[in-house]
């Protein structure tokens, strides 16, 4: 399949404080490793060229954790360092994630000047008591200030991450948060349903019955009311959890959803290249040691068989409201979608879960709600 462009993800595993629901590879109180970590990233970046050859980088995404815990100069330097080694395509989408409390006008100015053109801010909710209950270290005021500064600094592609299905959250709370987010005039909004993951403080609480999350029915109501509200305001519901003004869809994430190739550097980062998925050690120490020894932080890799690649293409593609393109699928796998999945597609159409058009297949609203059940049909 080899497209001539590729996405680059850079992971930053540092946080001021670990949120109570977070199971991501990110850690608080590891600031003393930040210097060594940057050095390790540099080594991995040095080796990108060997892996991607002549291909251009179309998107860069600095995610975390909290990348903005690093000084803006370090972040800009890092982006420059990437540019030295590889070609970043003109007009590439360059995103940085930030927590509101880490932002300042100077930082945003420097990032914009340094080449970052998309900002993704973790807002989560607009009620300060709700933010506190999540273990967040910012207020809604921090978010609003941050967005303002970002706009002044010239960012015209800003995302806010929000969560629903939170403990003690009502549908009214949720709608209020959305109204506040929309009010900030951002181009992109992600709305994530809370997943209580094992190993998190929330999981412990939940297993002792101490987490008062809304019922499945209420949670679905939040999701659907929220989606209706955002689309009515001109946000395109382009992925299960993502809404964007036209042309502001996240190009980097679309690489994942199109099951295209990407390369990841940093602890816990994944790459998908030449039919292999590779991932780095998530533990910062192990990652740094591994990079020192071998030039990259790979913990393991696996070959994704053609049939698994087909399935993953469906699995990721059906998250998008545009679904899976018949043309792209045939080009990549040599046969029509119908050749592999014809009868499954028919069954799902009859059940009202999937729609087939001349150009693609995509899920109905109900199919989206039941995506996993739908996907099981596609499994061989």
């Amino acid at each position: 399949m080899q497209a001539d462009t590729i996405g680059l993800y850079v992971h930053f595993p540092f946080c001021l404080r670990k949120c109570l629901y977070c199971d991501f590879p990110s850690y608080a109180h590891k600031d003393y490793l930040m210097g060594e970590y940057l050095t390790a990233l540099k080594v991995e970046i040095d080796n990108i060229k060997d892996k991607i050859g002549h291909r251009q980088i179309n998107t860069v995404f600095l995610g975390g954790g909290t990348p903005t815990l690093f000084h803006e100069k370090e972040l800009v330097w890092l982006l420059d360092y990437i540019k030295q080694g590889s070609t970043i395509r003109h007009g590439a989408e360059i995103t940085i994630e930030a927590n509101p409390e880490t932002l300042s006008p100077d930082m945003l100015e420097a990032l914009k000047q340094g080449g970052f053109n998309r900002l993704s801010i973790g807002m989560q909710a607009c009620q300060d008591e709700q933010l506190k209950a999540l273990g967040r270290t910012h207020s809604i005021g921090d978010v609003e200030r941050g967005v303002n500064w970002a706009k002044k600094a010239g960012f015209h592609n800003i995302n806010l991450d929000l969560m629903f299905g939170l403990p003690n959250q009502t549908t009214d709370h949720w709608m209020e948060s959305l109204v506040r987010a929309v009010g900030m005039g951002v181009e992109h909004i992600s709305t994530y349903a809370l997943i209580v993951e094992e190993g998190t403080p929330f999981f412990e609480l939940a297993s002792r019955g101490g987490l008062n999350t809304p019922s499945e029915d209420v949670e679905r109501e939040m999701y659907h009311r929220g989606a209706k509200y955002l689309t009515s305001l001109g946000y395109n519901h382009y992925e299960i959890s993502n809404f964007a003004k036209s042309g502001k869809e996240c190009k980097h994430n679309l690489i994942y959803w199109h099951n295209n190739e990407y390369i990841g550097v940093g602890s816990g980062a994944h790459s998908f290249l030449h039919g292999r998925r590779r991932w780095n050690y998530a533990d910062i120490h192990q990652y740094i040691d591994e990079v020192r020894k071998n030039g990259d932080g790979t913990e393991q890799w696996e070959v994704i068989s053609p049939s698994d690649q087909r399935f993953e293409t469906i699995m990721m593609g059906l998250r998008l409201n545009s679904g899976v393109s018949k043309k792209v699928f045939k080009k990549r796998f040599g046969h029509d979608l119908g050749y592999y999945y014809g009868s499954i597609i028919e069954t799902l159409k009859i059940e009202g879960l999937l729609i087939e058009t001349d150009s693609n297949i995509h899920l109905t609203a109900r199919g989206m709600d039941l995506q996993n059940s739908v996907l099981l049909h596609f499994m061989e």
């Binding site: 996405g7 993800y9 994530y192 349903a193 809370l194 997943i195 499945e216 029915d217 949670e219 679905r220 299960i240 959890s241 994430n253 690489i255 994942y256 959803w257 099951n259 990407y262 990841g264 816990g268 980062a269 994944h270 998908f272 998925r277 991932w279 696996e302 994704i304 698994d308 399935f311 993953e312 699995m315 990721m316 998250r319 059940e351 879960l353 989206m368 709600d369 039941l370 995506q371 996993n372 059940s373 996907l375 099981l376 499994m379």
Partner: protein, 654 residues
């Protein structure tokens, strides 16, 4: 026991009981049997005033005995200790529960197959004795096997836990032993436990069973205390075997197993005559004839000997291909000089409980057949025949002696043959009397004829004995009443314990009765039952419909009065067990066309991962693969996916 000691001992006795009819009657103390010790190494056994045999010098040094105990009262541990003390095993060889060598037996602490082992023992006077320990199953399911093992012995050690006292099952086996004229040697075990009440237990043995427990050995099998005394007691109290060496051969088969090299190995007790390699033998019940390839004894591994003679316990192999040819209770005789009549007590055992057994993966049907076949080679009481179910596909209707037997077979299939099974709720055999006077036996609810053609139906009824502390009488009666029991009798074993007798329909106890009993009596009740016959009952077929379609594998036959409660219970249970699916699923219980209960499984509203980015793809795919595996364990019934355990657990209520 030597010559001229001239002891005369009377043993209290019970009248002969027809096991099939009235189970336990209280013991009259009228009949006695005596042993008289005469001159020249001869012991006379006098029964009802008649000399019924005498032991010769060789037999005088043999003791054949078994051990009777309630589960957990220490039977296997005592057996191990006796093996140890008689030098059968060095300590290094000692593995706990030597005789229970099946994994299942060890884990559950039960004996499933009978076994025999020959021990040597030298008493204080230097006399050498041969002790044959016959290990028998203790569970009611195997009552017939137990009775045949008992028939191979002259005595039994009765092990009673010093803190628990006598339990219902022990009592049943004691009566069985008394019925077989066995000398019973009570032994009080676990005397070193703080809760031990040996005097109370002794009194109980005297009051309840009518045995003199005054000089019963007080032991701790676990800690090896008092074992010597038990062995001494075996030698001094249990009569030597009798039987003429020169009479025509009569050998009792009390169990058998299949050996890959020698074919069937039958456990035998020679009652009369001799048996050696090359002999032409005949099974008196089946008429099958074989040539003996090996005779031997268990020490404890099979060890061949030149000859087995009257009074001895051992084994015979004769290139027999199937255990069906060596039926438990059958008599082996010589083809050319046959005994005039077989030993008494043989009967064909018939299954009491049936259930459908299906491979979880339909493609493994042949493997299941093969596995059942192999189990049957070793277990003549297991029956099976192919059946089909709309819901479950191809499988087998298996017949078992009882619930434990069913459990064991199913577990062995899963464990030893690595099969995943779907089993349907157990059923008993109903007798259906048609309008035209014809009769049918029905063991599968789906084959019940049209109710309009049925004159009436009959169901099997058991006599159940429940023994428990008096404080639980109310709870037990309530349970039995709920299960359509008819109160028969209540007897105080002593101030604090009662023996309650109920007549209960077998179909009310075949699944969870014992569990319910245990939970309502905090584990203190013990339970035993015996089939007593068939009784007319108002029975109906209860159907379960999923999404409007009847599911044959969930149908069951229930009493008319119970149908409503059962139907509602099953519908509720299925609602719990069947996961929400993409559409709403109505669950209905129906008798004929009449819906008697309804539940609804709401449609699944959410099954989606909120976040899925580059780092999640492999994980997500693997998660779905796992989900898919889980789905494979579900049965597609029409459009509904039903977890396999649903087919069995519909009967669990209490």
């Amino acid at each position: 026991m030597g010559l001229g000691k001239g002891r005369l001992k009377a043993v209290r006795f019970i009248s002969h009981m027809d096991l099939g009819k009235s189970f336990i009657v209280h013991m009259p103390k009228a009949r006695c049997f005596h042993k008289a010790y005469g001159k020249d190494n001869v012991t006379f056994t006098i029964f009802k005033g008649e000399t019924i045999g005498m032991s010769n010098a060789r037999q005088e040094k043999i003791r054949n005995f078994c051990i009777i105990a309630h589960i957990d009262h220490g039977k296997s541990t005592l057996a191990d200790r006796i093996l140890e003390i008689t030098g059968m095993l060095t300590e290094r060889e000692m593995e706990k529960q030597v005789l229970d060598d099946m994994d299942l037996e060890r884990e559950r602490g039960i004996t499933i197959k009978s076994k025999a082992v020959r021990l040597s023992y030298r008493d204080e006077e230097g006399e050498e004795y041969i002790l044959n320990l016959i290990d028998t199953p203790g569970h009611v399911d195997f009552a017939y096997e137990v009775s045949r093992s008992l028939a191979a012995c002259e005595g039994a050690i009765l092990v009673v836990d010093a803190s628990q006292g006598i339990e219902a099952q022990t009592l049943a086996n004691v009566y069985l032993a008394l019925e077989h004229d066995l000398e019973i040697v009570p032994v009080i075990n676990k005397i070193d436990l703080p809760s031990a009440r040996p005097d109370w237990v002794k009194k109980e043995i005297e009051d309840v069973i009518g045995l003199d427990a005054g000089d019963a050995p007080m032991i701790s099998a676990k800690n090896g205390i008092g074992i010597e005394g038990v062995v001494e007691k075996i030698v001094s109290s249990i009569p030597a075997p009798i039987g003429e060496d020169d009479a025509p051969l009569k050998a009792l088969i009390f169990d058998s197993f299949y050996d890959n090299y020698r074919g069937v190995i039958a456990y035998i007790r020679i009652k009369e005559g001799k048996l050696k390699v090359g002999d032409k033998i005949r099974m008196m019940a089946t008429g099958k004839e074989f040539e003996v390839t090996e005779v031997g004894i268990f020490r404890p591994s099979p060890t061949s000997v030149p000859e087995l003679m009257a009074g001895e316990v051992g084994y015979v192999a004769a290139s027999i291909k199937n255990v069906r040819d060596t039926r438990v209770g059958d008599t082996i005789t010589h083809s050319d000089n046959p005994a005039a009549e077989p030993l008494p007590g043989y009967r064909r055992v018939n299954p009491m409980v049936y259930s459908g057994v299906y491979p979880a993966d339909g493609a493994r049907y042949e493997e299941l057949r093969e596995a059942l076949h192999k189990l049957q080679i070793n277990d003549a009481s297991l029956s099976f025949e192919p059946e089909t179910s709309m819901a479950l596909g191809f499988g087998f209707r298996c017949g078992y002696l009882g619930l434990l037997h069913m459990d064991i077979i199913q577990e062995r299939l899963e464990r030893e043959y690595d099969l995943d099974l779907v089993t349907t709720a157990p059923s008993v055999i109903y007798k259906v009397i048609m309008n035209d006077g014809t009769k049918q036996d029905i063991s599968n609810p789906t084959s019940l004829p049209d109710p309009a053609d049925i004159e009436h139906m009959e169901e099997p009824v058991v006599n159940a004995q429940i023994m428990a502390p008096t404080e639980y009488v109310g709870a037990i009666m309530e349970l039995c009443q709920e299960r359509r029991g008819i109160y028969k009798d209540m007897e105080y074993m002593e101030e604090t314990r009662v023996l309650i007798t109920y007549e209960l329909p077998l179909n009310e106890i075949i699944y969870d009765f014992f569990d319910a009993l245990k939970s309502r009596t905090r584990g203190y009740a013990s339970f035993d039952y015996e089939l007593i016959g068939y009784q007319q009952a108002e029975l109906v077929k209860l159907d379960i419909l999923l999404n409007g379609e009847p599911v044959d594998a969930l149908s069951l036959i229930v009493h008319n009065e119970k149908a409503y409660t059962r139907g509602r219970g099953i519908a509720e249970k299925l609602k719990e067990l069947i996961p929400r699916q993409m559409f709403e699923i109505p669950i209905q219980a129906a008798i004929g066309n009449k819906i008697i209960a309804r539940e609804t499984i709401k449609a699944l509203r959410k099954d989606v991962l909120a976040k899925c980015y580059g780092g999640d793809i492999s994980r997500k795919r693997k998660l779905l693969e796992k989900q898919k595996e889980g789905k494979k364990r579900m049965r597609q019934v029409g459009s509904v996916e039903v977890p396999q355990e649903a087919f069995m657990s519909v009967l669990k209520f209490d």
